[in-house]
């Protein structure tokens, strides 16, 4: 019973991690940029959900319909104004730029919203479905997981069936060749960054009802998103999805059977093992960067 309970809560938490990882992986795949502002974009989503709930009285899950287009535009604009300029530059310049953008965002949030953690309390924040065998499933976490699945499915269809989606994948596979085939790679980069931002903000909004909202809350998720990407294979959307769930389950199992104090150690040992034996990640292309 303890096993099933931890497995379940691991999978559900992992779903939200996965969403954060997918956004980061997509950006890396298309643009070959590691986005270190990803955690802060998640934080942005958390605050948007919080203010939609407290000021506009919109349910945080419903608010996604508002948050996604807003953050997509924000990401699109960020790419056009900043990221675009370093796309052919060395990695360290890109890293510095995204870290800088992240710092500006988190510190602006600190100034504007202070360091008091905000708590988003919905009517279902601490409710759960309880089965007769004693296993309970958190209502908000289950909702988040289902929404994650739906978004991932839509993203998958978008990438595999639409013209823009195929152009994105072509850019991801080979930027120069895609350009030669007449794909507007600059536009694809902006779209990819917009989607990445929207996914990060969505992950933030989804976790907001079960977590607390703080200007620096994104930082712990940044590390997780990065681990997930490398584990699943940088640039692989499916890999990031699976990687997220794996991390969620491993964390949950480690805290049940070892100690919650040690769960990060177990996660990073797994991470190191993947890097040693399968450096391209679980779903990565061989010989990729």
């Amino acid at each position: 019973m303890l096993f099933l309970q931890s497995l379940l809560s691991g999978i559900l938490t992992g779903g939200v991690y996965a969403l954060a990882g997918i956004g980061m992986s997509l950006v890396f795949g298309v643009m070959n940029i590691s986005n270190f502002a990803h955690g802060d974009l998640m934080m942005l989503g958390m605050y948007l959900a919080y203010f939609a709930f407290t000021l506009l009285k919109i349910d945080p899950y419903l608010a996604l319909l508002l948050i996604m287009p807003i953050t997509f535009l924000f990401g699109f604009m960020l790419e056009k104004v900043f990221i675009n300029r370093v796309i052919n530059h060395p990695h360290q310049n890109q890293i510095l730029l995204t870290i800088g953008l992240g710092l500006i965002m988190s510190n602006t949030a600190l100034l504007a919203f202070t360091s008091d953690p905000k708590i988003l309390t919905t009517t279902y924040s601490s409710s759960a479905f309880n089965s007769a065998s004693g296993i309970s499933v958190s209502v908000p976490l289950l909702l988040s997981f289902l929404i994650t699945c739906a978004i991932t499915a839509i993203l998958y269809l978008f990438l595999s069936r639409t013209r823009t989606g195929m152009a994105l994948r072509a850019t991801s596979q080979n930027r120069e060749a895609a350009q030669l085939m007449g794909i507007n790679v600059a536009k694809m980069s902006a779209i990819a960054f917009g989607i990445g931002t929207a996914l990060a903000a969505t992950a933030g909004a989804l976790i907001a009802p079960t977590y607390y909202i703080h200007p620096l809350a994104g930082h712990s998720f940044l590390l997780k998103a990065f681990t997930i990407c490398v584990l699943g294979g940088l640039g692989s959307v499916v890999g990031a999805g699976v990687g997220g769930v794996i991390i969620g389950v491993v964390e949950s199992m480690a805290s049940t059977y070892i100690s919650s104090d040690w769960k990060d150690v177990v996660v990073f040992m797994l991470f190191l093992a993947v890097l040693l034996f399968r450096p391209q990640g679980l779903f990565g292309k061989k010989g990729g960067q």
């Binding site: 309970q5 931890s6 691991g10 938490t13 360091s115 708590i119 309970s136 049940t256």
Partner: protein, 381 residues
């Protein structure tokens, strides 16, 4: 001639501040104004500011030099050294966190400038025999002792610990285990967690499986709400939730009535305790800052009042040390005296209070002589 004249003028100009120095006495205040502990730090800032205002109203002038440690012991030590060497303060109030206070305390005897710690709980701070370190609040071991004393009459048999892997968490649980041993409580689960995680369900499920009578919790602000939410979710219902200070004593926590009702916590101070001026302090604080004063605010207020009143009479750091050691006070924190007992030096034997959230409000329930309401036991949802 001209040069001689100039030097006389310069000498006079330089002499004047010395003459004027007879006026206000200089006191330092180290606090976490920024950084992770800034939220609680703000309460200390407000409490200390109110003390200075009240003293001004009584005609006592003081020059307060404020320093921010950002919650970092390194900065706290630098702040203390700056205060005593450059600003020439004769006494220092602060720092807030245990980590910072412990480091600063270790240097106080070197500079011979008294340090009055208002709210840091780590026992070690006043256990090393430093003659210039004084502490107003009760140390960490009292948190668990008073909580267990409060439920003793109900004869619980088992206990589980859930706590943050921080200095405060680990040291509080260590003393709780000693107290539990004395009471004959059996430990059935021990879950140390890293702060800021989204999922505590696995740890809490383990605790639930062990079915303890008491669950002893140590967490900072937001984690407390997260833990109690997830505890409700998985249906963890012991006979009592005992929260040791910090996250379980905030107004934000009490407002979450669905999860916080009937949670018991230990605190240094409440606004319904019958100590002189406590209720009045709470009313004035609420009017001024539009929020409930936490115990940190009361501790900072009283520490600042005692420090300034004593410093004004003493005038030098050495005399201040003697006066703090010899004096006794009574105010919003009850009777205060810095004594040596049970391994502690210059420690105020502060009686801690046990409060329980009843209908969204903190009610003092123990010790009986300070409380109006009764403890509700066992816990129910």
């Amino acid at each position: 001639m001209k040069r001689k004249f100039l030097s006389i003028v310069a000498a006079i100009v330089m002499a004047f501040p010395l003459l004027a120095q007879a006026a206000p006495v200089k006191i330092g205040f180290i606090n976490s104004i920024t950084g992770k502990e800034a939220q609680i730090g703000e309460n200390l800032t407000n409490g200390a500011a109110m003390a200075i205002e009240d003293l001004k109203a009584k005609g006592i002038q003081v020059e307060l030099v404020k320093e921010d440690d950002g919650g970092d012991p390194k900065n706290a030590l630098a702040a203390y050294e700056k205060l005593v060497t450059r600003d020439g303060v004769i006494g220092v109030v602060g720092p807030y966190t245990s980590g910072c206070a412990n480091v600063v305390a270790s240097r106080a005897d070197q500079y011979n400038v008294p340090l009055l710690v208002p709210a840091a709980a780590k026992e070690e701070i006043t256990m090393k025999g430093y003659k210039n370190v004084f502490r107003l609040n009760a140390p960490a071991n009292v948190y668990s002792m008073v909580l267990m004393d409060a439920v003793k009459t109900f004869k619980p048999k088992t206990i589980a610990y859930v706590y943050a892997a921080t200095d405060f968490g680990v040291s509080t649980v260590k003393t709780a285990q000693e107290n539990a041993l004395k009471m004959g409580l059996k430990e059935v689960a021990n879950e140390k967690y890293q702060q800021g995680q989204p999922d505590y369900r696995p740890s809490l499920s383990k605790v639930k499986a062990a079915n303890p009578d008491l669950v002893f919790l140590v967490s900072y602000d937001a984690d407390a709400i997260l833990l109690m939410r997830q505890a409700k979710e998985i249906g963890l219902t012991p006979k009592a939730f005992l929260g040791a200070g910090a996250g379980y004593t905030t107004a934000q926590f009490a407002q979450q009535t669905e999860i916080s009702n009937l949670v018991v916590s230990a605190t240094q101070w409440t606004d319904d305790v019958n100590w002189t001026g406590a209720a009045d302090f709470a009313i004035r604080y609420k009017a001024k800052y539009a929020k409930e004063p936490s115990y940190h605010a009361a501790c900072a207020y009283e520490a600042m009042r005692i420090m300034v009143e004593t410093a004004v009479k003493s005038g030098t750091a050495a005399k201040l040390q003697v006066a703090l050691k010899a004096g006794s006070w009574s105010g919003i924190m009850g009777p205060v005296k810095f004594a040596n007992y049970g391994g502690f030096t210059n420690q105020n034997n502060h009686p801690m209070l046990v409060q329980q959230i009843q209908n969204g409000k903190y009610e003092t329930v123990y010790p009986v002589q300070f409380s109006k309401k009764k403890l509700v036991y066992p816990f129910k949802r």
